[in-house]
Amino acid sequence: MKYKIAVIEDDSVIRSELEKMLVGNQYEVNALTDFSNAAENVREWKPHLVLLDIRLPGESGFSICSEIRSFSDMPVIFVTSSNTDMDELNSIMLGGDAFITKPYNQAILLAKIASLLKRAYPADGQEQLSVCGAVLHLENSSVSYGEKTVELTKTEVKLLAYLFRHAGSICARSDMVEYLWDNQMYVDDNALSVNINRIREKLSSIGLKDFIKTKHRQGYLV
């Protein structure tokens, strides 16, 4: 199921780029352009999460938030350019779940969204990804193929998860390094190769040979 996110932001460039980014990360997005009855729209569309700017023309994000709170306790993230304590305090008092200041760091914003969604809508069932019979178990960091299972380290799980999510397309090395950085694992290019080789060894030990292909000068492919 795709999570639905409502974006309430008055700057048109940011609005469309946020939309693009969220759609690119497998969310369904509705970016409102009319703020006069934003809360009404939110009530009708029933998103799972709302991204809300504080300064809107003719409206304040705070009042929209308190309106939303009157009928729902869905997660609300305030995104704003003013990082004064007053605004932060206000946003918490009115029931905002997070407060992110512009210019936002994409990784932090996405992580915040993901963690709020996870908290608000606990996933039923286990988290796993599978490609061609190989199953990656995120909850106990292991990968299995057929009967066999092998344990993975923290970095290896993240790397494999990234490859699994982008199965069928080439993952550039630099993108993979960035993804690991976003997850607070600061590896460099060499360490990436070392990790990939270790994963390959582990995969071949459970019968998955040449599962990760190297595309010369471009990256890796699952």
Binding site: D11, V13, I14, E17, L18, K20, M21, G24, S81, S82, N83, T84, D85, L89, T101, K102, P103, Y104, N105, Q106, A107, I108, S169, I170, C171, A172, S174, D175, V177, E178, W181, D182, Q184, Y186, D188, D189, Q218
Partner: protein, 365 residues
Amino acid sequence: MNKRLYLKQRLPMVLLQAVCMAALSFFLYLNGNSTDSILLILLAWVLVLGIFLGTTYLARKKRMEKLLALTEQLEERYLISEVMEEPRQAEDLVWYRILKMADKSMLEKIGEVERERSEYKEYIEQWIHEIKTPIAAMKLICENRRLEDAGQQNVEKRRLEDAGRQNCENRHSEVTRQMLVELEKTSHYTEQALYYARSEHTEKDYSVREISLFPVVHRAIAENKYLLLKQGVRLMVEEEEVSVFSDEKWLCFILNQLIVNAVKYGGKEPAIRFYARREENRRILCIEDNGIGIPEEDLPRIFEKGFTGKNGRTAENNATGIGLYLCKRLCEKLDIGIHAESSEKGTVISLSFRINEWIYQVQGD
């Protein structure tokens, strides 16, 4: 009040009295008065004159010293004309009026300057908030474009093996990456301006609460991700659970500045290590780099405003002398000790947070 100067200024009057005395003695002598009676009159005269001079001097001195003490007690000394009592003497009254006039015009001037300053500060803060929107937009555009490129690259790849096109796409993504580095710098400088505007004023814009140290470190790293990746900086974060009482936003800004500095004055294979130390009553966060270090003679002055030092004055570094000064100021406000040690092998900056062991014992940490 200087006694001699006071008496010297009374000299004309005293001389006049002496002349009068001589004239009176002469007149009385001619009228046939006895020398004894003349001497008696002169003695009485001198006595009265002496007492008069002495008492006026003492009274005046007391008054002036009181005024002086009052002025010294005042925090804003220019306000003395508002609090002093109105003098009685004609000349003093004129001085008093002049002082009042001078004060009034100065107060007007101060008010004007203060208003201008606060208006300017308000404008700067507002401007910074406004500039953040386009920066955020640019960042988003770049990051989306980069992802799109990667996506397009793959589609393209599968459709036709066009090497030329591929190269072009790769370059494109390289350009956006460079843009992202520059954008990180831009937003860092804007933050710097914001904190500068705030640090100059006494108003409080921070809230101290219990925070975990390492998530803030990660946040500061994330804010400099593209810069660090571009420079190929090796990061070591020796994470552990350390909590301190501080303000997250300000701390993040300080760390940000320290990271930027570590990269700026980094060595050939730059590396930055973050680790924490525990001491009695203190938690210390260290940021260690393996850069070119700070010359010993510069070390004591690096936190001074406008100090650039030997390393900062080279053309490519172009230091402003603001960054570390701001760090120091913010640290002072948050009661964080900031300390630098340096050798040719690198620099260690340590931030030391005061903690109250007693609170921890009560809370059972």
